[in-house]
Symmetry: C2
Subunit: 224 residues, 2 copies
């Protein structure tokens, strides 16, 4: 865990609990604008108009459009990391349990915070220093996952010969949830997260018996 | 295969072969501009300047900016589908072989045509009718994969209780390759595709013995 490039912050008590996202009005307006028109398709004037403030008032709080993107992506990564840290501290030392709760935590985030999570497609719009900082935080999450899988391979719980590549694949699969999930769809975030734990265990070559979470719950019909 | 919403076109002979991408200069300029600045951040004037033609000359060939995005995404989906069709016709009836070659074909595409594949993040910029058409083609690819996995589950080659969700996860994982792959990296597209076949077989709960493609090639060192 020495790779952590971040200051310590209290982990949220309930990493599975999601209240509505609280953002200040300017960040909230920026998030909606970036989501609808992309970063490069949005002007500071658009955001000010959307929020109902003057452009100078907006500049009083945020230096420029880049600062808004940085603040949103920073919020995204810190939230994900805080929740993942809380999830792993629930998991103890067993790598299968740690990996499962990490995946569950990431998927719950992608579904419950999908608009924020979708902003990951805008990181190409970050200036070099901001980009490096974001990537360092994202790498930290990836390393946490890789360390867990390597531990699982050493304990013969996982069989993948390629833990790093497998974890990159796992993260892409989980991030994909932010693209397609819509509230009110056939599955709740909790149900989706359970299925993804099963998929991701398969991806890293989990060698044990099927886990409770991977079985269809209470007689629900299969989707395909 | 009755879901196919497309006209027949001759499948490319070598679905694993990639020559440099051939696009007319206007489409090529539009692709670079969309890649760097996003669809909404690009104007027709930007593209004309980049290509070295006048704006009226550009309009002579393409009705508007939307038509350029549609032409590029159309090229992307038709190429992917043609190559996947060729791959499945190589595979015969065995669902494990069909699934493996489909995944290999998709991953090879994502690595070799990463700039075009990355445009998938711009489909939110399509007008409703164009969006519906693109999604129909993409759904066709997803259904081909789901049909294969359902067949594999019936033949006890795959154990996933959720073929449709698993295939969505598989596609997201494969599409992710377009985001991180760079030519000249430590692995060739062929090596990446082999590893992803292994990961994706795990995701759908492949029940058989390890396949040749899943083993490290000729003593290469593990990456993690």
């Amino acid at each position: 865990m020495s790779r952590a490039p971040r200051t310590e912050a209290p982990a949220p008590q309930g990493w599975r609990d999601y209240a509505p996202l609280e953002l200040d009005p300017v960040l909230s307006g920026a998030l909606s604008a970036f989501h609808e028109h992309g970063y490069h398709g949005t002007t500071v004037r658009d955001i000010a108009r959307r929020v109902g403030v003057t452009v100078p008032a907006l500049y009083y709080h945020y230096e420029n459009k880049q600062a808004l993107l940085v603040a949103l992506l920073d919020r995204l990564m810190r939230d994900v990391l805080d929740r993942c840290r809380a999830a792993t501290s629930d998991a103890g030392d067993d790598p299968v349990e740690r990996f499962s709760l990490l995946v569950e935590s990431i998927v719950l985030y992608m579904a419950n915070r999908r608009k924020l999570a979708f902003l990951d497609t805008e990181i190409r719009s970050l200036e070099p220093e901001n980009h490096a900082r974001y990537v360092a935080l994202r790498d930290y999450l990836e390393h946490t996952l890789v360390d867990t899988v390597v531990d699982g391979v050493e304990k013969h719980a996982f069989s993948t010969p390629y833990p790093a590549d497998a974890c990159r694949a796992v993260l892409a699969m989980c991030q994909g949830v932010a693209n397609w999930y819509r509230p009110g769809g056939p599955l709740t975030p909790t149900e989706i997260a359970r299925r993804y734990v099963d998929f991701c265990l398969g991806t890293v070559g989990y060698t044990g018996p099927p886990r409770a979470a991977a079985r269809p719950a209470r007689g629900r019909t299969r989707k395909a």
